[in-house]
Symmetry: C2
Subunit: 201 residues, 2 copies
């Protein structure tokens, strides 16, 4: 009895700790996805994960930091794949990036958290800052680092703008004919633009 209490007060053992962290992150991702950044609270996340709010703070810190961690997990497929996508030969980078981004949006499992991130970033300054930091440092800078032309970061951002804009029109605003157009037809039109932004002198 005393042992159990002491254990609960101290640091959780490693295995339980990893499990609890995962549970909190899953709950956080779901809460942020459903409610957006502003309406989500650390207390709500704790409740959904079946833990005390203090434990959420213990593992992650502030709500902003929970959001960042949840985004990183949600973005994992979007941020880990690009090793091959962003760092392959420059000549095919436009098509690789375009296929990659639309692939993430076409898949409902990765689309839901992305949509939550986008909504949160459009509505809230703090969420926008997190989005900015993650996307800029983890994706755009890596692409820009390959570009041996003036303004590599601006180029990467305008290429991303074409991709984000097209994804938003197709999957969020659902403008027709874009929303129902054949994916290959869209890729054929968008990939050269992305390529041009990155490599055209």
């Amino acid at each position: 009895m005393t042992g159990a209490t002491a254990r609960r007060r101290g640091r959780p053992p490693r295995a339980e700790s990893a499990d609890t962290r995962d549970r909190i992150l899953t709950a956080a991702r779901e809460e942020f996805s459903e409610r957006g950044y502003e309406k989500t609270s650390v207390r709500g996340i704790a409740k959904a994960a079946g833990v005390d709010s203090a434990l959420v703070h213990h593992y992650f810190g502030t709500k902003e930091q929970v959001f960042e961690a949840a985004i990183e997990v949600a973005f994992a497929p979007a941020l880990s794949a690009p090793n091959a996508v962003a760092e392959g030969p420059l000549e095919g980078v436009g098509e690789r990036l375009t296929r990659f981004v639309f692939g993430v949006w076409e898949n409902p499992t990765t689309r839901t958290p992305l949509l939550a991130i986008l909504r949160s970033a459009v509505n809230n300054e703090t969420a926008a800052a997190v989005f900015r930091r993650l996307v800029a440092t983890q994706l755009l800078r890596r692409i820009a680092a390959q570009v041996d032309l003036p303004d590599p970061e601006l180029r990467a951002e305008l290429a991303a703008a074409q991709l984000v804009g097209a994804a938003m029109m197709r999957y969020v605003i659902k403008l027709e004919p874009l929303a129902s157009a054949d994916l290959e037809q869209i890729i054929a039109r968008v990939a050269p633009v992305v390529q041009g932004h990155l490599t055209q002198p």
Copy 2:
């Protein structure tokens, strides 16, 4: 006394009616801008305009219809200018459209309602439908109508996607260096892309 009561119960006379409509629309635009579509209520708009909710319904109908009317007013500069922008010679259309869109975003007076519309459309299906209808019918179709190549509407939408994406990254997400870049530098990179979407065979 009886006359005044009767007047209040009946249709307001034309001058008063136009004035009240304007007051309701202004209040609606401000409420939607501040709170977004979901959190705005017809009652809140009525209160801000100093009229009864019934009068808002009388003039505009449902909340969706008030939103549509408010967007149309907010969009007036964005939707009326394009006569010259969208319908001039095709060879300069990319630069005209790009200058026009960034001009609207650079101006704080037109940026605020645009931002509200974008936020509402990203967060709410009904607002997305209104955005879709207005943008598609009033702007994109007019541009597409000039394009004498296959898939004119898809072309217009992907051109718009580059513009909306770039504006979002610069003015909403505020990604650097895009957010602080010289406007002419951005136009020089974006205009040829818009032009290419619309006129490249």
